[in-house]
């Protein structure tokens, strides 16, 4: 039997309209990008990026702005590398350590020209590297190694360091070591329009708002499928997501995991890869109570890292089982160990803590990284369940750092990249965990650990170095040197794009294979 439509009183009719409009809006919203694309590559397409980090130093190649240039496909270095820790040819096709182990010779790729037509020569490469080594604050990749370069004929460059450096080729894969045309260095900072060698050339810069690039048709490698790229710098993640929704951007970088999950459907390329960064609970070993390994082990046993990654951070981070995670070839792939509060209580009792003498500590962290206060609160609850009272203190990291380095703290939750530009963990292990380490906040000192790292000073074989990293990581776990909690992920979403991948080392984005699809 048909049902007569209900009469709607006049005043409520408008409310019904509003609700209907909102429902229709929601439908449109959820159906955006839900399908219908052909999936075919658009020849000579144009792409707009919503990038997370704006250039802060006028695209100076000695600063972190070098990552922006590298991601846009404008600049290249002598060497390429990935998270596997191996050096691959880029502007140099081969390299060799010389009889004097402080010197390496890099054979340049023949026929390469900068985007403005200047040829890539040994002199050009040498002057670019010498300029970088001479800046007041050299980037991490070349800091303190005493780098000097000189042309060796038109097609080679010799690079010398103060002491033998087994990872020099990896250092020269850093985005900061991009080689610009000699004319670029006439200005400060060096000019980046048309002076790189990458597949795209910058044609217009608009401050921190945007950059426009066009295909470099004389590129030495595979011809870019995109004819034009516009990069807009949108620091707010919500705004980047909205720009993608609205069609203002085709790719949005670094969306919060929960936001990225909203972009569903076949037209979206939703990427999340483990990044070489670990949030760890540092434990001050230079004083009680964490000078006692049983107390450190108790903390380790008390924390459920799977719950931290999957529940507290809603799956936006990978639970850590060791210092190095799945972002790198030598990282642990094993699941994070399960929490064992009973074992934690037992260890605490052995160390003299219990209901009659409860363990009370301060747990410090900072809010610059949004996940840290959340992790600190969750860790506090887990420690409480094991009988440890942790008083959370959230402050400014820069202000607190001198105290941390002086050993004036109990527990501190810190997020730290363990690759620091060069895909080799030797530097981080040296500064953070050796007796003489300049950033050894845990204040861990083990002669056996220092001896384990010693071969890194001369070892050039990536596989042998990575074996050292693995053993070092295992030793840190055995000695309960802090608790690695989670590994961060790098994310990005593309709409109707092909060839899009998120680089965990943040060096590449606009590559020749990237294209817009219909």
């Amino acid at each position: 039997m048909p049902v007569a439509p209900a009469a709607v009183p006049g005043r409520r009719r408008s409310a019904v309209r509003v609700v209907a409009a909102l429902a229709a809006g929601a439908l449109v919203l959820t159906s955006c990008g839900g399908g219908g694309g052909t999936g075919q590559v658009v020849p000579d397409g144009r792409l707009t990026l919503a990038m997370a980090f704006a250039p802060g130093a006028g695209y100076a190649v000695d600063t972190d702005d070098a990552f922006v240039l590298s991601q846009l496909g404008a600049t290249e270095s002598l060497v390429a590398s990935g998270p596997d820790g191996r050096a691959n040819p880029a502007l140099a096709v081969s390299w060799e350590q010389q009889a004097d182990p402080r010197t390496w010779r890099f054979e340049l790729r023949p026929g390469v020209r900068f985007q403005n037509g200047e040829p890539l020569t040994g002199e050009a490469a040498a002057s670019a590297l010498n300029w970088l080594a001479g800046v007041p604050a050299p980037p991490r990749a070349v800091k303190g190694v005493g780098l000097r370069a000189e042309g060796d004929g038109p097609a080679a460059v010799r690079v010398t360091t103060t002491a033998p450096d087994p990872i020099l080729p990896l250092r020269l894969s850093s985005a900061n070591t991009a080689i610009l045309a000699p004319s670029a260095y006439a200005s400060t900072p060096p000019a980046v329009q048309g002076t790189g060698t990458g597949p795209m050339t910058i044609t217009r810069l608009d401050g921190v708002q945007s950059a426009t690039l066009q295909r470099h048709d004389r590129y030495w490698g595979e011809r870019a499928r995109l004819a034009e790229v516009t990069a807009t710098f949108v620091p707010d993640p919500a705004a980047r997501a909205l720009a993608l929704r609205a069609g203002d951007a085709d790719i949005a970088q670094e969306l919060p995991e929960a936001t990225a999950l909203e972009f569903t459907g076949g037209d979206y390329a939703n990427e999340a890869v483990a990044a070489p960064r670990t949030a760890s609970l540092l434990l001050n070993q230079s004083r009680a109570p964490f000078s006692d390994v049983r107390v450190r082990q108790a903390v380790t046993a008390a924390i459920d890292r799977t719950a931290l990654g999957e529940q507290a951070l809603a799956g936006s981070a990978v639970p850590a089982s060791e210092l190095f995670g799945p972002a790198v070839a030598w990282g642990a792939r094993t699941p994070a160990p399960a929490a064992d509060p009973a074992r934690a209580r037992q260890l605490l009792a052995e160390a003299g803590f219990g209901p009659d003498r409860p363990l009370r500590v301060e747990l410090g962290t900072y809010a610059n990284r949004a996940e840290l206060p959340t992790l600190a609160t969750a860790v506090q609850e887990m420690l409480r369940a094991a009988g440890i009272e942790a008083n959370v203190r959230i402050g400014d990291h820069d202000a607190r750092e001198p105290e941390l380095l002086a050993g004036d703290y109990d527990m501190y939750l810190l997020s730290r990249s363990y690759l620091l530009d060069v895909p080799d963990a030797g530097a981080t292990l040296g500064t953070d965990y050796t007796c003489q380490g300049s950033y050894n906040i845990n204040r861990y000192c083990s002669p056996a650990f220092d001896a384990l790292l010693r071969p890194l000073a001369t070892e050039t074989d990536p596989a042998a170095r990575q074996e050292v990293f693995r053993r070092a990581s295992a030793m840190l776990t055995a000695d309960a040197v802090g608790v690695p909690l989670v590994h961060t992920r790098a994310t990005g979403v593309g709409y109707r794009v092909a060839g899009y991948t998120v680089d965990p080392l943040a060096k590449s984005l606009v590559v020749p294979g990237l294209a817009k699809t219909g």
Partner: protein, 313 residues
């Protein structure tokens, strides 16, 4: 009026000196190592080399006493030199003037919209206090004051860039790109202007000369606009001077949300990068613009209000 103008303008040098001292001291009172901040903003360096920090201090003139730093900066300022950005090593003026221009357009647009919406809405509501229009206005102005800019901005983008995609979500440079940021910024002053105009108009309409005007047969719209609206306009004009300064400096959220390259975004980046010359120049510019806007607004309000004008003499 001229005396008042001279008196107000004479105060500007004092504001300039006090403002300079303030913007110089404030970042330094935070106790953070500026050289370390610069290094971290440039290279993300967590483990700085003391020699590198010392070289940076020397290069950026941070190794002298505060007094030396202040006198050096202030004397250059008097000569019109705002210095070089620590981050980009380019003149601060190259970044500041365009950013001020963008923010001024944004703020001026927001004030125009706020006036165009708030004043008629306030006058309309004042016609019948407690009536339907008044209740709607009250509810609307409560919303306009209470809803934060990042929420309103997001809702507007969802509505006009996503659901009905007629406007761009981010960016700056075309009139269409200005619409959503201007509307977002306008909500708060529009709500306040509407409340202010309503209150003033209700007050004026109850006065004896208005009753006389009505008795003489003046039509209701004429009463409203000639007697109520004009006085209310005086209050709104006074308020707009304060708002212009506030909007210039306080539009950080809107400029970051919509990726607008204004002075708020400039200051946001400069504070994160501890780029002191940019922070100092930006804050000082806002203080001076706000002071000038305040004086102009006061003069405009006096021009509109003969009673206040005679009192000011």
């Amino acid at each position: 009026m001229t005396t008042l103008l001279v008196r107000r303008l004479a105060a500007l040098p004092v504001v300039f000196v006090l403002g300079s001292v303030l913007v110089f001291l404030l970042p330094r009172l935070s106790g953070q190592d500026t050289a370390l901040g610069i290094l971290r903003s440039r290279t993300g360096e967590a483990d700085p080399d003391p020699a590198v920090l010392a070289a940076l201090r020397e290069r950026y003139g941070l190794d002298g006493s505060w007094w030396d730093q202040f006198t050096g900066w202030f004397s250059a300022l008097l000569g019109g030199d705002l210095g070089l950005s620590y981050a980009s090593r380019t003149p601060v003026t190259d970044a500041l003037w365009p950013a001020l221009g963008v923010s001024f357009l944004l703020a001026a647009g927001a004030l125009v919209v706020a006036g165009a919406v708030g004043i008629p809405a306030g006058v309309r509501a004042a016609r019948r206090p407690g009536g339907r229009a008044d209740r709607v206005l009250t509810a609307g102005s409560v919303l306009g004051v209470a809803v934060p800019e990042f929420v309103l901005g997001t809702v507007l983008v969802l509505a006009f860039a996503v659901v009905v995609p007629v406007l761009p979500a981010t960016g700056w440079g075309t009139p269409a790109q200005a619409v959503l940021p201007v509307l977002t910024l306008a909500a708060f002053p529009a709500a306040l202007a509407a409340q202010l105009v309503r209150a003033e108009t209700v007050d004026v309409l109850g006065r004896a000369h208005v009753t006389v005007a009505r008795a003489k047969g003046m039509s209701e719209p004429a009463v409203l606009w000639r007697h109520g609206g004009r006085l209310a306009l005086t209050s709104v004009t006074s308020m707009s001077g304060l708002f212009l300064g506030g909007l210039l400096g306080g539009s950080v959220v809107v400029e970051v949300l919509f990726a607008v390259p204004g002075v708020g975004r400039l200051l946001y980046d400069a504070v994160l990068g501890q780029d002191l010359p940019v922070v100092q120049a930006g804050l000082l510019a806002i203080i001076m613009v706000a002071s000038l806007a305040g004086i102009l607004a006061e003069l405009l309000a006096l021009a509109l209000d003969p009673v206040a004008r005679s009192a000011a003499r």
